[in-house]
Amino acid sequence: MSVSDEQLMLAYGAGDAAAFETLYGRHKGPLFGFVVRSVKTRGEAEEIFQDVWMRAIEARERYQPAAKFTTWLYTIAHHRLIDHWRVKGLAVVPLDTGDDDEGPALDPAAGPEADPHEIAVAVQTRDRFAAALAALPLVQREAFLLHAEGGLTVPEIAAATATNEEAAKSRLRYAMKKLREAIEDE
């Protein structure tokens, strides 16, 4: 039986460096995927990725396993991305988005086209899916990536993004609907 993420993080906070290596090995891929699909360039993704882990290292002694480790880790990533988007002049996620919320404007650099449907027609299926993902509004894309990469549930997405569960559920549902439409148009 493998040791849980929470136990590993507690062990690392107590001085067990090997525990962190295990933890890092488990989550570096999903976290990097989450970050790299949330920004424009790989360089930015690497910088943010490293920063997230550094913040986790610095906060090791304050870590309390009140929530899942992944929720805690992706909360750090979310805050770091918010800072990044603010620096880039992009709109920040509104907290009270309803079902009809489409979120802020598309990240101009996230995809060549604004309409996921047009992207899906133009490229191969996989590329259409990637393009559709990149074309999603920030909040919807983030909700989908937290679910797909981090395995977070709707309440965990709400906790990580500091929003309510309804908003998180709405963002995730809209994101999946648009992506589904993109691949079903093949």
Partner: protein
């Protein structure tokens, strides 16, 4: 979650996976190990400082323990005949005061300009005394044309600055002829022989008055008193002077008093020869 959602997730996972570069992995893992080592580093500096302080304190204590032995004065000075030493039998004579009183005698002598002196290695048997200080100056062989006054002054200076050579004083006394009978040293050690040589080379001419000779040799005990560091040695010096002056009764009484006052004090053989009852 339904099947359509699962299909969507499957499609997502078919996308090319992005992974961080190995250099980034190494950088993060290295950073993760640094804070774990910090507690040791936090204690390392204070611990090092404490260890250095303890070692330094131990060293200081050791040096202090050894220092009193290392600074013990030279062997006690022999008695000099014909001196102006007071005959008082009080056991606590202040040697410094005595020196001050007799200081003008030395100053009456014309002071010779400082001469370059020759160092002579003369560690005789008595020089093996553990903490006897090295003589700071030795008398160079005087030139035959050197005036007697200069020679005398230099002789006094020798006694003043070279307490270890004072052990040669009995032999010098014998040469001076002031009290040959009281001179106890039958076979002077190497240091004394050295001094004899020196004294012989700088001996005053026969025409020199006895008063001058007395003044010259009187400076020796004063110098000895100056160099003596312990009251016991000063007292023994005083007894030796009484003995040398023929005041045996006073010397015997002072020696008895000294024995009573210092039952555990070990009188060195050379000094014992000077103070013992005859």
């Amino acid at each position: 979650m339904n099947e359509r959602d699962d299909e969507l997730l499957r499609r997502y996972r078919e996308l090319p996976r992005e992974t961080p570069p190995p250099s980034l992995d190494a950088s993060i893992l290295a950073a993760s190990r640094r804070p774990v080592r910090r507690p040791m580093a936090r204690w390392a500096a204070p611990f090092s400082v404490a260890a250095v302080l303890v070692l330094a304190l131990g060293l200081v204590l050791k040096v202090q323990r050894e220092a009193p032995e290392a600074t013990l004065p030279a062997a006690p000075q022999p008695a000099m005949p014909g001196t102006n030493a007071p005959a008082a039998a009080a056991p606590s004579i202040d040697a410094a005061k005595e020196k001050d009183v007799q200081a003008p005698v030395v100053q009456e002598q014309p002071v010779a300009p400082p001469r370059k002196v020759e160092k002579r290695p003369a560690p005789g048997p008595e020089r093996e005394t553990p903490f006897a200080p090295e003589p700071r100056a030795r008398v160079a062989p005087a030139s035959p044309a050197a005036p007697a006054t200069q020679t005398r002054t230099h002789d006094v200076t020798r006694h003043d600055v070279a307490p270890a050579d004072e052990r040669a004083a009995p032999a010098a006394d014998a040469l001076a002829g002031s009290n040959a009978a009281a001179a106890p040293a039958a076979q002077p050690p190497a240091a004394q022989r050295n001094a004899i040589t020196t004294t012989t080379a700088t001996a005053p001419p026969p025409a020199e008055s006895r008063a001058q000779s007395s003044a010259r040799v009187a400076a020796a005990p004063r110098a000895a008193a100056k160099e003596a560091a312990t009251p016991e040695q000063r007292e023994l010096e005083r007894i030796a002077r009484l003995r040398a002056q023929g005041k045996d009764d006073e010397a015997d009484a002072a020696l008895e008093a000294f024995r009573r006052a210092h039952p555990d004090y070990r009188i060195e053989p050379a000094m014992w020869e000077k103070v013992r009852r005859r």
